[in-house]
C-alpha cells in the first residue's frame, strides 16, 4: 500500500482540510501518512494544493513527482498536476468547474459534479470538499469509508455542529461514485 495523492484547486475550496481528513483516516487505519500544503503569500483566492501520502512504509519524500491520484478541483490544477500522474493512476475532476476535456494515456479519469451535489443534495455549498473526498474513496477504495467518517469527526472536534452536513456530503460523493459515476479508462 503506497498512495501519493495531490489535491489542487482554489483557496477557499477546503483543499487543505480535505487533505487533512484523508491523512487522518490513513493514520487511523494504521498507515504512515504525511500532509504537505502549498504555502504562499496569498491568503484567499489564489491557488492551493496539498500532497497526502499514505503508505505502509516510513515516508521519505513528502512531495510527489508521480502521484497515484490527482484531484483537480479547478481547471488550472488539472493542467498543472494531471500530466505527472503515474500510469494506472486516477484523475478525479470536479466537473462542476472543469469543462475542458483532458487526455492522457494509461490513466483512469473520473468525474464528480461536486458544486452541484454540495449545493442541491447536501444543501450546503461549503461541503464540496467532502463530496469530492467521498467520491475519491468511492472510485478508489484506498481506505474504508467508515474510517474517513471517523477522521472527519476527529478533525471537526470542537465544531460538532458541522459534522452532520459533512458526513452527508461524504456519503453523497461516495454514492455518486459507487453508483457508476462518470468514469473511463484510457487505454495505452
Amino acid at each position: 500500500m503506497h498512495n501519493e495523492i495531490i489535491i489542487g484547486g482554489f483557496g477557499g475550496q477546503g483543499i487543505l482540510f480535505l487533505g487533512k481528513v484523508l491523512a487522518t483516516a490513513g493514520m487511523l487505519e494504521g498507515y504512515h501518512v504525511s500532509w504537505f500544503p502549498s504555502y504562499g503569500p496569498e491568503m484567499r483566492g489564489g491557488t492551493a494544493n496539498c500532497t497526502v501520502i499514505i503508505s505502509d512504509q516510513e515516508i521519505g519524500a513528502t512531495i510527489s513527482d508521480h502521484p497515484h491520484i490527482v484531484v483537480a478541483m479547478n481547471e488550472p490544477s488539472l493542467f498543472r498536476f494531471a500530466p505527472s500522474l503515474k500510469e494506472g493512476g486516477l484523475l478525479l475532476i470536479n466537473s462542476s468547474l472543469v469543462e475542458k476535456e483532458y487526455q492522457k494515456e494509461g490513466i483512469e479519469i473520473a468525474k464528480i459534479p461536486a458544486n452541484q451535489l454540495a449545493g442541491k443534495v447536501v444543501n450546503n455549498p461549503k461541503t464540496l470538499n467532502m463530496v469530492v473526498l467521498g467520491a475519491l474513496i468511492g472510485y478508489r477504495p484506498i481506505l474504508p469509508l467508515s474510517q474517513v467518517h471517523r477522521a472527519l469527526e476527529e478533525c471537526l472536534a470542537g465544531k460538532e455542529g458541522l459534522i452532520e452536513k459533512n458526513n452527508q456530503a461524504l456519503e453523497t460523493g461516495w454514492q455518486y461514485a459507487c453508483q457508476g459515476g462518470v468514469t473511463h479508462v484510457s487505454q495505452r
Binding site: K20, A23, T24, M27, H32, V33, S34, W35, F36, P37, Y39, G40, P41, Q57, E58, I59, G60, A61, T62, I63, D65
Partner: protein, 350 residues
C-alpha cells in the same frame, strides 16, 4: 501510550516546548514558521507562561537573553532573514553562557529570498553567523515526531551545557503534518541554576556577561568555552544510519533531504544497488567518526543538500581526503527529487 494525532511541524515544536517547561517565548512573525508564535500566544498563558511579540528579531533575542539570565527556560523562533538579525544576540548569549532554544525554519536565500524550504543556513548555524569564537549546538530534525523529541532534547542540552541550541529545520518540516505521539521528556537531572540573576537577596551579588578587556583574560574565557565544545563533541553526537551496513556508496544528508535519501536507498535497492545513508541529527557536534568509518568502507560518498554545498565541507573534513566525496544540491527553495538523485547515484556507482 499517548494518543497518536496528526499535527503540523510548527505546532508540534511549540507544544513540545511547553512540555519541556519553556516558560517564555519571544518572537517576530516570518513565514514559514509563524504558527509557532500563533500557537504559543494561546498556549503559554494557559500554563502561566509568557508570550511576547517583540518589535524586532533583535529585540526578541535580547528578551530571550534577559529571561535566560533570570534562569527560565525560554525560546525564540524565526526563519533565515530573522535568524541573521539575531546573530548579535546569539554571540552574546554564548559568551554569557546563557541557555536557550532558537528555532530556524529556514527558507530560500540569500537576502529576502523566498519562503520555500531550504538548507542554506547550515554555515550560519554550524560555523557561527555572529562574531567571535563560539559554537551552537545544532539539531537537525527530519520528521514532525523528531521535531518533538529534539525540542525536548534542545532544552535539556541548553541547560546541561549552558549554551544556546539551534533547531535547524526548514519550511517543509514546519508546514507538513504527520502523526505524532507526545511522550514525556525524560533526561537525567540537571544542576540547579545557581548562576541565575534573581536579585542579591542578602547574598553575594551576581553579574552575567562581564566585560573582559584584558587579552589574556578573554583568551581564558574562550579556552574554557572551547573545552566545553570539545566535551559536547565527545558526548552528544547523534546520527541515524539507514540502508545497507556495507554499502557501495554512502549517502549523507540531513533533515528533509535525508527523507528523500531514504526513498533513494529503497528505490536503489530495487535496482540492486547497495546504498547506505548517514543522517546527522546533530550538525554540531558533527558525526565525523561514523561518517569517516562508513565512507572508508564504502569507498565513495554522495552528499545531498538543499543548498550549493555546505555540510559537504564537514563531510570532506571528516574523511580527510581519503575517499572521493561527490555533491548534489538544489537551491532557492527547489527540492531535489528522489528520481534525479538516483540517476546521479547510478552515474557515480557505475
Amino acid at each position: 501510550m499517548e494518543k497518536k494525532i496528526l499535527m503540523k511541524g510548527n505546532e508540534a515544536i511549540a507544544e513540545a516546548a511547553v512540555q519541556a517547561g519553556c516558560q517564555l517565548y519571544f518572537g517576530y512573525p516570518i513565514t514559514p514558521q509563524t504558527e509557532i508564535s500563533e500557537y504559543l500566544s494561546q498556549r503559554l498563558p494557559e500554563v502561566g507562561g509568557v508570550f511576547l511579540q517583540a518589535e524586532s528579531e533583535v529585540a526578541a533575542i535580547n528578551m530571550v537573553y534577559g529571561a535566560s539570565a533570570s534562569g527560565a527556560r525560554v525560546m525564540t523562533s524565526s526563519s533565515g532573514p530573522g535568524i541573521s538579525l539575531k546573530q548579535e544576540g546569539i554571540s552574546y548569549l554564548t559568551v554569557a553562557e546563557l541557555p536557550c532554544v532558537i528555532v530556524n525554519m529556514s527558507r530560500g536565500g540569500p537576502g529576502l529570498g523566498n519562503i520555500q524550504p531550504s538548507q542554506s543556513d547550515y554555515f550560519q548555524a554550524v560555523k557561527g553567523g555572529g562574531h567571535g569564537d563560539y559554537k551552537l549546538i545544532v539539531l537537525a530534525p527530519s520528521s514532525v515526531q523528531e521535531l518533538i523529541t529534539l525540542t525536548h532534547r534542545a532544552f535539556y542540552l541548553a541547560d546541561k551545557y549552558r549554551n544556546p541550541v539551534e533547531i535547524l529545520g526548514d519550511g517543509m518540516l514546519g508546514q507538513m503534518m504527520e502523526p505524532v505521539v507526545f511522550t514525556k521528556p525524560q533526561f537525567p537531572p540537571l544542576p540547579s541554576k545557581d548562576w541565575a540573576i534573581k536579585g542579591k537577596n542578602g547574598r553575594e551579588r551576581k553579574v552575567v556577561g562581564r566585560l573582559t578587556l584584558e587579552a589574556q583574560a578573554l583568551e581564558e574565557v574562550n579556552l574554557r568555552l572551547h573545552r566545553k565544545y570539545q566535551e559536547i563533541q565527545k558526548n552528544e553526537v547523534l546520527f541515524e544510519a539507514f540502508g545497507s551496513p556495507e554499502p557501495d556508496l554512502l549517502l549523507v544528508g540531513f533533515g528533509t533531504t535525508a527523507r528523500i535519501l531514504k526513498t533513494v536507498v529503497r528505490e536503489g535497492e530495487k535496482k540492486g544497488l547497495k546504498l547506505g545513508l548517514i543522517r546527522p541529527i546533530t550538525l554540531f557536534p558533527f558525526p565525523r567518526d561514523e561518517i569517516n568509518r562508513l565512507a572508508n568502507q564504502a569507498g565513495k560518498v554522495l552528499v545531498v543538500e538543499m543548498n550549493l554545498g555546505q555540510m559537504v565541507e564537514d563531510v570532506r573534513l571528516s574523511v580527510e581526503g581519503r575517499v572521493p566525496v561527490f555533491f548534489y544540491g538544489r537551491t532557492g527553495g527547489m527540492i531535489p527529487t528522489a528520481e534525479t538523485i538516483l540517476s546521479r547515484v547510478e552515474q557515480i556507482v557505475s
